[in-house]
């Protein structure tokens, strides 16, 4: 499968400022997360993908073609903007039908797809209500409906969970996962919420100050990341840590007095957690507390934010 999005030394300047500064890379995942702090250039990249902003230099290609040069390519793209974008005096179904017709669907097919899209996002009962009367969560879902009604191959979601309460957010995340798992379209999700991206994406691009700070395959990262274990022990921590190191783990301990100690262990992937309990029993050490975690997207993100000068990515 070829890349969905290709960035070739892409530079975008807006209002005299360089917003995207030499982005390069090929994104091919089914669900791609676009992360970065505010002002990192996430929305600008999406707008450039849509052809709204011209590249000052370099190029951006979607499915191998330049969006600005090939208007028809936009039929293959569904876009859910971050801010409110609808026509308030139209009913939901009419609005989605209108947008589907503009994407090239014949009126009858557009009407059918509008109904389907509304039911799909869970707004079937509200489809004849005017959009101006929708709640924020409903508006977000209506925006998603218009983005998918014409059957795009690439779905661009700009902060899809913005302003949603927890149940509505869960619903949106579930929908995005469903669309991803259906395998009919690629999804690019721009968000500053790491959890949203972690729950929906398999590939992540982290932007910082208009550059790619990290580009990684989340699944590979998860598999390769090390297991961190923090223990609170009572007993002979010295012999215990020596034994743990014998397993090939990195280990350090910090005595807390009264025979207590805090032990930090980085376990190799092939070592099972129960080995720690076995060694503790062998050395007559009590494990009173255990914290276990894997490297999360947050760690990757924070590492990317700390690194100087941007990066081509970790994988």
């Amino acid at each position: 499968m070829g890349p969905v999005i290709e960035l070739d030394r892409l530079v975008v300047r807006l209002g005299g400022r360089t917003i995207l500064d030499g982005l390069s890379g090929a994104l091919a995942g089914r669900a791609i997360g676009l992360l970065g702090p505010n002002g990192a250039g996430k929305s600008t990249l999406i707008n450039t993908l849509l052809g709204f902003h011209p590249a000052a230099s370099g190029a951006v290609r979607v499915f191998g073609a330049d969006v600005r040069e090939q208007k028809a390519l936009r039929r293959l793209i569904g876009y859910m903007p971050e801010s409110d974008a609808f026509i308030s005096h139209m009913t939901g179904v009419r609005f989605v039908r209108y947008m589907a017709e503009l994407a090239g669907l014949p009126p009858q097919a557009a009407l059918e797809r509008a109904h389907e899209a509304f039911f799909y996002v869970g707004l079937g009962e509200a489809r004849y209500r005017k959009l101006g009367t929708y709640s924020l969560g409903m508006k977000q879902l209506a925006k998603l409906a218009q983005a998918i009604a014409h059957g795009p191959r690439l779905l661009l979601l700009d902060e899809p969970t913005n302003g949603l309460d927890p149940p509505a957010r869960q619903r949106m995340i579930r929908l995005i996962r469903e669309i991803r798992d259906a395998g009919q379209m690629h999804i690019l999700i721009s968000s500053h919420l790491l959890r949203d991206v972690e729950e929906t994406c398999e590939e992540v691009v982290i932007l910082r100050e208009g550059r790619i700070a990290a580009h990684c395959d989340l699944e590979t990262e998860r598999r390769s990341n090390r297991k961190f274990v923090e223990l609170e022990t009572a007993g002979s921590a010295t012999s215990f840590t020596t034994a743990v190191q014998g397993l090939g783990a990195e280990c350090a301990f910090y005595p807390n007095g009264h025979g207590l100690a805090r032990v930090k262990v980085v376990l190799p992937d092939e070592v099972e957690m129960r080995e720690l309990f076995r060694l503790a029993a062998m050395h007559d050490v009590q494990i009173r507390r255990m914290n276990y975690r894997r490297d999360s997207l947050e760690d990757i993100f924070l590492a990317a934010m700390k690194e100087k000068g941007g990066a081509g990515g970790r994988p």
């Binding site: 208007k71 936009r74 308030s88 994407a103 079937g124």
Partner: protein, 298 residues
């Protein structure tokens, strides 16, 4: 399967022709407009002058009708260009009112609701967007100006049966060209104001202001400085000059002169064309500046 149980499925059906896709905009636009009964009534009323003119033409050529109305002779004013000029002037005024009504609701709601990125993220360019929105006005204004006036011309030519039609083709051409000049100016100006001002009432007021304030300023300028050049801001006057030149009404004392040349200090026709061209250019510039999927703040 119940529609709500369907999973997402891609669309694999036929697509509409790419070149005609912008016509979706006027179709939806016109349907929405005619949901207003008031507008429907106004549009119907716009045809009343046409019906009156058609009646006048019929009476002029029907001895029976004249006898019924106890008219001694056939009025010959219906055979002159002035007659069509007067109708065009009246319909042109109605076209302005219709534009002031319709234009503000064409673009500003899309800007207020932030819908422009949705339009432009589809296979639709900015030019096609403007063309689609303009087609709403072009259709409505055509329906009350050149289209019914050509019917009047055909009626007159058919009833005259003395070669009046072929001998006066210039009138038909003037009706078409004059109408289209005015329609173009009104449409672009209306769209530009709709793109510039987001509140409907204010936009309608602004459009009226462009015409009435422009006319008032022009007349004030003329009175104070004793020069007609101030009338360049009076678009209705400018289009009147253009219409007169198109109808060939410069030489004899005519309705046109009564209406537009009361002091014999008209601007040259080229200045009228230039004034209208400037208004069109300004409108296009405003549209170009305002209709962007994303605003860039420098």
């Amino acid at each position: 399967m119940a529609v709500h149980k369907r999973a997402y499925r891609p669309y694999e059906g036929p697509l509409t022709a790419e070149r005609a896709r912008f016509l979706v905009l006027p179709r939806y636009g016109l349907l929405e407009l005619f949901e207003s009964r008031l507008l429907t009534v106004f549009c119907v009323l716009c045809f009343v002058p046409i019906l009156i003119a058609a009646s006048a033409i019929y009476i002029a050529y029907s001895p029976a009708a004249r006898a019924l109305l106890e008219m001694s002779s056939a009025p010959d004013y219906v055979r002159k260009p002035d007659f069509f000029f007067a109708i065009l002037t009246f319909q042109g005024g109605l076209a302005f009112l219709l534009t002031a009504w319709v234009a503000p609701v064409l673009i500003s709601p899309d800007l207020v609701n932030g819908a422009l990125p949705l339009y432009l993220s589809r296979p639709l360019t900015r030019v096609e967007y403007v063309l689609g929105k303009a087609t709403v006005l072009l259709t409505l204004l055509s329906a009350i100006t050149w289209a019914p006036m050509l019917v009047l011309f055909a009626l007159e030519a058919g009833l005259a049966a003395d070669g009046w039609g072929p001998a006066n083709v210039r009138i038909a051409a003037a009706v078409c060209a004059g109408s289209w000049v005015w329609i173009l100016v009104l449409t672009l100006l209306g769209l530009a104001i709709s793109a510039w001002i987001r509140w409907r009432v204010v936009a309608s007021g602004a459009l009226a202001g462009v015409f009435f304030m422009g006319a008032a300023f022009g007349e004030m300028w003329r009175e104070v400085l004793n020069t007609s050049w101030g009338r360049l801001t009076n678009l209705y006057y400018l289009v009147g000059l253009v219409w007169r030149s198109l109808f060939g009404l410069f030489t004899d004392r005519s309705v046109a002169q009564e209406m537009f040349n009361e002091r014999g200090r008209d601007l040259p026709t080229w200045a009228a064309w230039a004034g209208l061209a400037a208004a069109v250019t300004l409108s296009v510039w405003v549209l170009e500046r305002r209709l962007r999927a994303r605003e860039v703040v420098s």
